[in-house]
């Protein structure tokens, strides 16, 4: 069991839990996640995976990891009700991380909604490695942008888009992405957010001839590579076939070019139909 050091609201929409977990914090890399067990009775059993927002390895007491989330159901509601000093059951760090580029210098972080979370940790590590970092956050509305003030501090250029125009560009990330890439001289893109957004971001990145590392979100059963719930369809290296690989331990970060995005199109078309059709 770990201990909650702090619970704060991050803007109007998000909760942040800072957890004392020295071993996890020391080992964690950007893009990895932790799996938290909500303190519920047996009505909701499964852990909830959260990418790591930030680690603090310089604390007075012990190193901490911080996660940011919004309330989506009973599990996250139970976590959002937790107070400082309460014990919390945490497993991590899990998964393959983003990789820091060896040769490229200019890095653009593209985050959709709460998907921006792991990009803060990544941005700090990129800066520590001497890279240029720019940020582009999109969300439905201003209050759903994750930590915009800190994002401005992080990015040499920081831009926002909102679906309702309440902050930054009125529209989608993908409408301004090309312009950002040109303006910032972007050489690598890192993205996390809704799947369709990441598919479009990958497409645009490839048109510009730059790599995109994407952090996938999938529903997880175990989060430790056992249950085969969270698979992502990935092209094999020679492009001849698609394999369902585990998002939790073979991801969550993938090369965007290797993901078989078309596989999702049919499901998404069906989900877009209103009930009754």
């Amino acid at each position: 069991m770990a201990e909650i050091l702090n619970h704060r609201k991050l803007g109007d929409e998000y909760h942040s839990l800072t957890i004392v977990a020295p071993e996890i914090a020391e080992a964690a890399k950007p893009g990895q996640f932790v799996n938290l067990r909500p303190p519920t009775d047996r009505s909701y059993l499964l852990r909830r995976p959260f990418s790591i927002f930030r680690v603090n390895r310089r604390g007075n007491v012990a190193a901490t990891v911080e996660v940011v989330f919004d309330i989506r159901g009973p599990g996250t509601a139970a976590l959002a009700a937790m107070r400082r000093h309460e014990p919390i059951d945490i497993v991590g760090p899990i998964g393959r991380s983003f990789t820091i580029p060896k040769t490229q210098h200019s890095c653009l972080l593209v985050g959709g909604g709460v998907g921006a979370t792991p990009l803060f940790f990544l941005g700090e590590e990129l800066q520590n490695a001497g890279k240029r970092v720019d940020v582009l956050w999109g969300a439905a509305t201003a209050s759903r942008l994750v930590a915009p003030i800190e994002a401005k501090r992080l990015g040499a250029v920081a831009a926002f888009t909102t679906d309702d125009g309440s902050e930054g560009h009125h529209g989608l990330i993908t409408e301004v992405l090309g312009e950002m890439i040109e303006r910032c001289g972007t050489e690598v893109i890192y993205t996390c957010g809704p799947r369709q957004m990441m598919a479009s971001v990958t497409k645009i990145a490839l048109e510009f001839g730059i790599p995109a590392q994407v952090a996938m979100e999938e529903l997880m059963g175990c989060g430790i590579g056992v249950c085969m719930t969270c698979v992502t369809p990935v092209w094999n290296r020679d492009g001849t076939g698609i394999a369902n690989v585990r998002t939790c331990v073979d991801g969550p970060v993938f090369n965007g070019a290797r993901i078989a995005w078309d596989r999702y199109a049919k499901e998404e078309a069906a989900a877009a139909l209103p009930a009754g059709n």
């Binding site: 067990r37 047996r42 009505s43 909701y44 059993l45 499964l46 852990r47 599990g75 059951d89 497993v91 999938e218 529903l219 997880m220 059963g221 175990c222 989060g223 430790i224 590579g225 056992v226 249950c227 085969m228 719930t229 969270c230 698979v231 394999a243 369902n244 331990v249 596989r263 499901e267 069906a270 989900a271 009930a275 009754g276």
Partner: protein, 307 residues
């Protein structure tokens, strides 16, 4: 604290722990070995393997339900040859009994998988007959005594190790299916597989899993599983049974043993608590010693039923 004996006899296999793993909930043990010492488990029942690799179903593959987990994975696995070349050599080094779970869509496929396992260093085979039978309008093998019998006898001809038939609870007469499996040569029974179930997102009117229907696991199905173990044990008191379905703690294990289980498998709980195999074992020891019961095996089938 007085010593308690937690070892059990499972159809001739002497297991040092009564706790085994439920197929599909432990992969082949490698991932879990980061969390627990596999040697402390009675046996590892690996993820079901098929003749060729299976890609499984589309996502979403899982939906959380009240006290349960609905899954439609579609038996994604890398095939029996991968198991033999990669997983089994590693497992053998771990010094824990291995029970190979096998699956297929035809009797022939089951037989071919079993044939490849013939000389492998495994301790038993669990036959996962909760698979659609392509030769019988996609009905599950486990839903029909003839199909059950055909698969078990086909596997029986191929391997010399004990065979456990893993039965589905979604049948009218479980004892009839159990009888068919035993008559065909099963040494024991694994009870139960997941309960067929469905969950719909009312906002999108879409099923919550891409496979439309799936199998329910977790504490939601425990009473269904306990009743299955009880009924089958009453009918066939000398047959070893691996009981499973929603076990979360030591008291759940005791409940299955009282109903008639010889060993108890941990399934969904591994996802929630990867150390469950250790913690429950230690709690079982305490439970027994606090009640001055010397042996878990002595509690088998001891539920007090009148008449």
């Amino acid at each position: 604290m007085p010593r308690v004996d937690l070892s059990v006899d499972l159809g001739g296999m002497k297991l040092r722990s009564p706790l085994v793993t439920a197929s599909g909930c432990f992969a082949s043990g490698r991932e879990m070995s980061e969390f627990i010492d596999l040697k402390k488990l009675g046996a590892i029942v690996v993820k079901s393997m098929t003749l060729k690799p299976w890609a499984g179903k589309a996502t979403p593959r899982m939906a959380e339900t009240s006290s349960g987990m609905l899954n439609a994975i579609g038996l994604q696995n890398k095939g029996v040859d991968h198991f033999l070349s990669t997983d089994l050599p590693w497992l053998t080094e771990q010094k824990v009994p291995v029970i190979a779970s096998i699956a297929g869509n035809t009797t022939q496929e089951f037989m071919q998988v079993a044939e490849r396992l013939r000389s492998a260093p495994i301790h038993a085979v669990e036959v996962n007959i909760s698979c659609p039978n392509l030769e019988d309008r996609n009905n599950m093998f486990a839903h029909d005594p003839q199909s059950t019998s055909a698969v078990i006898s086909a596997v029986r001809r191929m391997v010399d190790v004990p065979i456990f038939a893993k039965l589905s609870p979604n049948v009218t007469s479980l004892t009839a299916i159990a009888g068919a499996a035993l008559e065909a040569g099963a040494a024991g029974l694994s009870l139960i597989n997941t309960v067929m179930a469905m969950s719909i997102d009312v906002d999108s009117a879409m099923p919550k899993v891409a496979g439309v229907v799936g199998g329910l696991s977790g504490p939601a199905i425990k009473p269904i599983a306990v009743r299955a173990v009880f009924e089958v044990h009453q009918a066939y008191p000398h047959v070893p049974i691996i009981g499973m379905g929603g076990v979360m703690d030591a008291r759940d294990v005791i409940e299955f043993v009282l109903a008639g289980a010889s060993a108890v498998a941990l399934g969904t709980v591994n996802f929630i608590n990867p150390k469950a195999g250790h913690e429950i074992l230690s709690d079982l020891g305490q439970f027994l010693s606090s009640r001055k019961v010397g042996s878990l095996a002595a509690m088998r089938g001891q539920v007090k039923v009148e008449g």
